[in-house]
């Protein structure tokens, strides 16, 4: 079976008309397409960065609040500037994009505009016809472009790693986040990213996030849309569909992680899909630290005694501790961890809260723990390399 087509969809800045794109996303995933959805009210630079990192074949833009001729053209121009003009641009905006507009937009490099009244099936057919072709190698490349393409190759070859030689003696710290759906993993990670970025001016963070999908079907990869701090050139984020594998990760995760762990990042964060109580997703040594994120309301769905990750996690985060049940949950979990007699940490957070002290504490735990202390000794060496990346990435914005 050929690898699924991957596209990215988004709505322009100052525009919240997402009804059309939501409908189109649903239609695409029903027809086997993997859609990375970036959400509404998005800047050109955020869209282009995401498209490159996600290595999609095309960007679909749904625009209603005017200014579409400039906006679409900006996206095309930006892609070209970054050496990614093989990523195609298409879209629609109901009656707000006239035939004349569309002609001008096509002249400026847009592939196709779908007018009001186009059946959904026609759009699916178009994407399948035009965006399924194998991707050609790029003439010009940079760090993110190369990395993104390598990840695609790994993913589409179903997990075979190309011999990725480590250029670094010290690899980044890899932190694995897991936990049941709705516990707030994505929000927590995004809040940590804010702190990583504020900590210094160079370090880069990679995020590998997962959403469930079934073999041969599409997937909606939507984590990126809810992240506000991770829309930054110093963050490399990649969304993966599980493509039928149970347990919270994709068949290609391990190899992708290996590649990222040998790339130029200070931290690599991996986020599983929402997991059940038996799950223990991180089986390799590549993860330096595991964080289990729980919701104080776990009682309804999980039995504490059966949560395997509680025995293996290095840090257990009880998020949403503003909920009524938080106190009880914290003491139950703490009790359970004491019985384990391992050096496990427990942190109470309210990740959705701005400047949450619990998230600060978690950040401290992650950045000051052993492996990152070791990394500090190597900091000068890394800094040099980092300023190179920073320079290239600054050029992008």
């Amino acid at each position: 079976m050929p690898a699924p087509i991957r596209i990215l969809t988004a709505v322009p800045i100052c525009d919240g008309h997402d009804s059309a794109i939501n409908t189109i996303n649903l239609e695409f995933i029903r027809h086997g397409i993997e859609v990375v959805y970036l959400g509404f009210h998005r800047y050109v630079s955020d869209i282009v960065r995401a498209a490159i990192q996600e290595d999609v074949a095309a960007i679909g833009i749904s625009s209603y609040n005017g200014g579409h001729i400039e906006f679409f053209a900006d996206v095309v121009r930006h892609l070209k500037k970054l050496g990614a003009s093989d990523i195609k641009v298409f879209g629609g905006g109901g009656g707000t994009i006239t035939h004349d507009d569309a002609r001008e937009m096509k002249r400026k490099g847009v592939d196709q505009i779908f007018f009001a009244g186009t059946p959904l099936t026609e759009m699916v057919a178009y994407v399948k016809k035009h965006y399924a072709k194998p991707r050609k190698a790029r003439a010009k490349s940079n760090v993110d472009l190369t990395l993104a393409r390598q990840l695609t190759e790994i993913e589409d070859a179903k997990g075979k790693v190309k011999n990725s030689k480590s250029k670094n003696s010290k690899r980044p710290k890899v932190i694995g986040f897991t936990g049941p759906g709705g516990a707030g993993k994505t929000t927590l990670i995004d809040e940590l990213v804010l702190r990583f970025l504020k900590q210094d001016r160079q370090s880069r963070v990679a995020i590998l996030s997962h959403d469930p999908s079934v073999v041969g079907e599409g997937a909606l990869l939507g984590d990126r849309a809810t992240m506000i701090n991770s829309q930054d050139d110093r963050v490399f984020m990649r969304s993966m569909a599980t493509r039928g594998q149970a347990g919270g990760l994709s068949p290609a995760t391990e190899s992708c992680l290996q590649l990222l762990a040998h790339s130029d990042f200070d931290y690599v964060i991996i986020e599983t899909v929402g997991t059940g109580q038996e799950a223990m997703p991180f089986r390799n040594q590549l993860v330096d630290q595991t964080v289990l994120v729980m919701n104080p309301d776990y009682g309804a769905r999980l039995q504490l005694q059966k949560i395997v990750m509680l025995d293996v996690a290095d840090i257990v985060v009880v998020n949403k501790t503003d909920l009524d049940r938080a106190k009880a949950a914290l003491s139950e979990i703490e009790h359970r961890l004491t019985q384990n007699k391992r050096d496990q940490q427990i942190v109470a957070t309210v990740a959705k809260r701005h400047r949450d002290a619990g998230v600060d504490e978690l950040f401290e735990l992650i950045t000051n723990s052993k492996s990152s202390v070791a990394a500090v000794s190597d900091r000068r060496n890394r800094k040099n390399r980092r300023s190179e990346t920073a320079a290239t990435s600054r050029k992008k914005s």
């Binding site: 997402d18 239609e27 509404f40 005017g66 959904l120 849309a225 400047r355």
Partner: protein
Amino acid sequence: MSKLGAVVEAVGKHEQFVRDQVKRARSDEKFARELTERWNKFKSEIPVSKTPTGIPLPRLALPEIDEAGEIARYLFGEGLPGEFPFLNAAYREMYLEPLQHNEQGSFKRSTSARSTSSNGAKKNGARPPEEPTRLFSGLMLAEDTNKRFHFLSAHQRSKRLSTAFDGPTLYGIDSDADGVFGKIGEGGVAVDTVEDMVRLYDGFEVGSPDFSASMTISGPAPIIMAMYIAAAKRRFGNGVVPNLRGTIQADIFKEVQAQNETIFPIEASLRFLLDMIEWTSANMPRWYPVSISGYHIGEAGSTPVQQAAYTLSNGFAYVEMLMARGADVNVFGPRLSFFLDCGLDAEYIALARVSRKIWAIGMRDVFGAGPKAQLFKLHTQTSGRSLVAAEFKNNLTRTAAELMLAYMNATNSCHSNSADEPFTTPSEEWIRLASHAQAILLEESGIFKHTMNMLSGSPGMKAVERAVEKAILDEFREIESLGGVMGAVENRYQRSQIQNAAHRYEEQIYDGTRPIIALNRYRNGSDEMPEVELARTPRSRQQLQVDRLKKFKARNAAKAQKELEKLAAVVETDENCFPALLEAAEVCSLGQISGCLQEVVGRFRPMV
């Protein structure tokens, strides 16, 4: 149980109460006599107007019943217009043309029987009430919109303006920010500063009882409200504040659920909103500081039932939160208003009627609200989404049918969409026709001006009422089981329900289940797009907005810095921050203020 569960129970109890009254009217002779006498007396006092051909018509039509049980069912179950539970109308008299000298006088004023306008009813019909027509408009810069306002209201007795803002303004972003240039003045008016606000309503007496302004903005609503007040003060002095009349949308829940213009985290947004509601309820007694809106939910593709259920439950959630802060339901309750969509689906025949009833019962029986706080005061907009590009002149007919439904539901004010809706902010040609459609319905035709409820209460309407009411209460139960409105919001419940409904809607268009004339039926065979006049903001206008904003910022730099620091300090505390916003609005731009607030409370994390 959250209060929503209690509302479901209260509605059930009320139904039981009505059944009991019917039974009693049929068994208790004295009660039956009282009811019948009241009914007959009321009926005999209904004023009568004459049509141009001389036919006498009652200003209010009542069902032809004389059996006490049926009278009880009507009086308790539906209520006369202006009486609990307000199924028929919020007020006793609406839409009626003034009586001529030789006709019988109108109802006397009572607390529950009022005209929409306090001054309209003053001289007993001598002066007509406010027109319900209120057209949403905004384009390019403040001067351009001001011109449109004057064009639209030139023939109105009362000036009821409704303001559409452009994208950057809706998102609290300044026109000079990176990446938004092309969006300036598109789809609405660009407002960055108090000076734009002064230009926007230039030439209108904003403190006059004949003027009211509506502003469709929610994410940065408290900031824009503060700018509106600051502009009014500049023009008319501090004394104008208590006289300001109008509405600001400000409804944050529906932003998170459907319109996607939230800019602060939900809790912080709610705090700013409640601060504003408390301040305006106390200092601007004639202002409506929130318009609890289903329109955007409906347009995002929800079913009509979802629209009503989410809107009502959002409203009840605000009441619960305000009361938890110690606010008095009888002070803020009368200042809440509502905004619903009206499309062509059968549910719309009674959606607003049922909403009025559920609101009144919930407010009275769950929150202990008095009569004024039980009213579901409603603005309706015809459905934009029902208007299509293919042979777009058909949109005139669609809007006309929707207008009819809206007025059959006794809406208090109404916007009718222009036929060029799918393409652009309307041109003068089409918005004029849209406005005329309402005048034709209300002034030219005899459908509403002689008898306010000419078309209400048919068996079909009642069938829809029953089905819709049951479905709304089922939705309430679902939301309740998710922990109430906040819990459901955090679970993306409303969003995912709306998205699924929207997908189904589009599917039904393309599989033909939903006939859309000239789109999937009776096509003319051509895919030509019509020539319509587009309202696009020239680059030179956009540049002008940027330039004058920069000058404003330079001129006020020092003062702005001080005000922003003060504002940030207040936001850190639990104090009401609206007074600090009022001061900041004098010298700071919208983007400066929203940026300052985001520094303290963070940014909204989008829900998709």
